[in-house]
């Protein structure tokens, strides 16, 4: 069982959360020419790192906010959690 520290609600079990994938992926900017490769990278291509991975989760059975979680994909250890709009240093 993973325990995720929701920045809005505190420590909750993974059952309350839904996974949203790699948080480092950036949507191409609007109002500019976007190449097929850029769309491809945004929609499909993922690094899927082994080790520290910054990812999105939604507290779907709680505050329903999207949050960022820094987690180790090899050990399942969770290091830090952030609000969705928080910059991660």
């Amino acid at each position: 069982m993973l325990y995720i520290n929701c920045p809005h609600c505190g420590m909750r079990s993974q059952n309350e959360f839904s996974y949203g994938g790699d948080a480092s992926v950036k949507r191409p900017e609007l109002n500019k020419e976007v190449s097929d490769q850029e769309w491809d990278d945004f929609v499909y291509n993922r690094k899927s790192l082994r080790g520290k991975h910054l990812e999105l989760w939604q507290h779907i059975s709680g505050c329903r906010q999207w949050i960022k979680v820094e987690r180790d994909t090899a050990t399942h250890e969770i290091f830090r959690t952030f609000k969705a709009d928080e910059e991660v240093a």
């Binding site: 069982m1 993973l2 079990s13 993974q14 059952n15 839904s18 996974y19 994938g21 790699d22 097929d36 490769q37 769309w39 491809d40 990278d41 929609v43 499909y44 291509n45 993922r46 690094k47 899927s48 790192l49 082994r50 991975h53 990812e55 987690r71 994909t73 090899a74 050990t75 399942h76």
Partner: protein, 418 residues
């Protein structure tokens, strides 16, 4: 190589079975190979076997970080089927079914292929319609499919819950009678033994730490046991694909996820086909030892852990108990997890890459085991001829960019779409 036969079995009995040949050798890596296959799992071993058998290329090495057959070919639920709707998947898998039927003879190794049939249960009229459509598509591709009504399903699996007042009543099902199971480890060992016999070097405990690429062409690999030159390199590393892709500066439409399976304590024969729950993701069969072999959804987040968490297991088994209530009486014997190369459309990739001489085989999602022979056969063709075979032409790497996705079930990296 000593043939495995009743006569050799009797002959070796006189010397207490102490004089059998080794099934495969333990060679030190040579300086150079024509083809290096990275990954000594089912697909890698099959690829090496078909390179030697179909294309007469025997200066081949299989490089394996751990031991052969220690990854997903040793961790799956052994289901073999070709019940796909889309042409790309159907024709590819049905080609594989033919290889499965001949495999024990072909490899002189009993892989215990047991075509016991698979039944996908339907729980609504709409689902019956969808299954009728898929069944018709299968039959157009020469794959056997039978649409069963409720009574027909009841005859085959009377132990399922056929009561009226359940949340997901059984309306019927789609059956592929020629589908089945096989002894997974034997598949890896059988391919390894024949490949070794034909001259392939199986190099275990050898980790790939880098690639030598110059002028857009592969020159060789760097490993924990030294550098190896290679004219061609094939990647067959399933859940480790992203790790090697990073060393090649490639970003792939693949995420690595965790998939669990489990077996119950052994019980007397009760289930003689493979059954899947249609209102979720759960499947079950009974092994020859009597264990109920069960599996279902991904854990749902990127993982390289090869071990799972309980919430998913609980969710999956809840579905199982809804389908076959007697499962709740059984004790769990083992659970385990493997790391899957989940592609974004749920279909695999067998293709060339932008690097000349580098070939990619990945994205097997939930269905890598049954694809072992067809994957090896087509990947060997792709490597040997430097062009894709028509059977794997649809499994291209650039289909995500061009929009030619093969969305068989839409079951890629995200479990909650299902």
């Amino acid at each position: 190589m000593q043939k495995y036969s009743i006569f050799n079995l009797v002959k070796n009995a006189f010397s207490n079975h102490e004089n059998w040949d080794l099934a495969w050798k333990d060679p030190t890596p040579k300086e150079e190979y024509d083809v290096v296959i990275i990954g000594g799992g089912g697909h890698g071993l099959a690829t090496a076997y078909y390179l030697a058998k179909e294309h007469n290329i025997t200066k081949v090495a299989i490089i394996e970080k751990g031991w052969i057959g220690g990854g997903n070919v040793g961790r799956n639920t052994t289901i073999i089927r070709s019940n796909y709707m889309h042409d790309e998947n159907g024709l590819f898998s049905e080609f594989g079914m033919d290889l499965w039927r001949k495999m024990s003879q072909d490899l002189n190794y009993n892989v215990m292929f047991s075509p016991r049939g698979i039944i996908n249960l339907a729980h609504s009229d709409a689902q019956m319609n969808a299954y009728a459509r898929r069944g018709n598509s299968m039959r157009l591709n020469g794959i056997d499919a039978v649409l069963l009504n409720r009574e027909q399903v009841k005859e085959i699996i009377p132990m399922a819950d056929f009561s009226e007042n359940v949340r997901f009543p059984i309306f019927g099902g789609l059956m592929q009678p020629s589908a089945g199971t096989a002894r997974h480890d034997a598949v890896a060992w059988g391919y390894a033994r024949q490949a070794d016999y034909m001259g392939v070097d199986i190099i275990q405990n050898c980790e790939v730490i880098g690639f030598d690429v110059s002028a857009g062409k592969i020159k060789g690999i760097r490993t924990s046991r030294g550098n190896i030159k290679a004219k061609k390199v094939g990647l067959c590393v399933a859940g480790s694909t992203n790790i090697l892709a990073e060393k090649l500066n490639m970003t792939l439409p693949i995420e690595t996820h965790l998939l669990q399976a489990c077996v119950s304590e052994p019980v007397k024969p009760v289930l003689d086909s493979v059954v899947t729950f249609g209102a979720g993701h759960f499947y079950v069969s009974q092994s020859d030892k009597g264990e109920m072999v069960m599996g279902g959804d991904l854990d749902g987040y990127n993982s390289y852990a090869q071990r799972g968490n309980l919430p998913t297991l609980q969710h999956v088994l809840t579905e199982g108990i809804a389908m076959m209530p007697f499962l709740s009486k059984l004790k769990m014997l083992r659970t385990w997890g493997g790391i899957m190369d989940m592609s974004m459309d749920g279909s695999p990739i067998i293709d060339k890459t932008h690097i000349e001489g580098l070939y990619l085989n990945c994205g097997w999602c939930y269905g890598g085991f049954k694809a072992t022979p067809a994957s090896g056969w087509t990947f060997a063709h792709t490597i040997a001829q430097d062009r894709v075979h028509e059977l794997n032409a649809g499994y291209s790497l650039n289909r995500f960019r061009t929009g030619n996705l093969i969305d068989e079930k839409g079951l890629g990296t995200k479990t909650w779409i299902s």
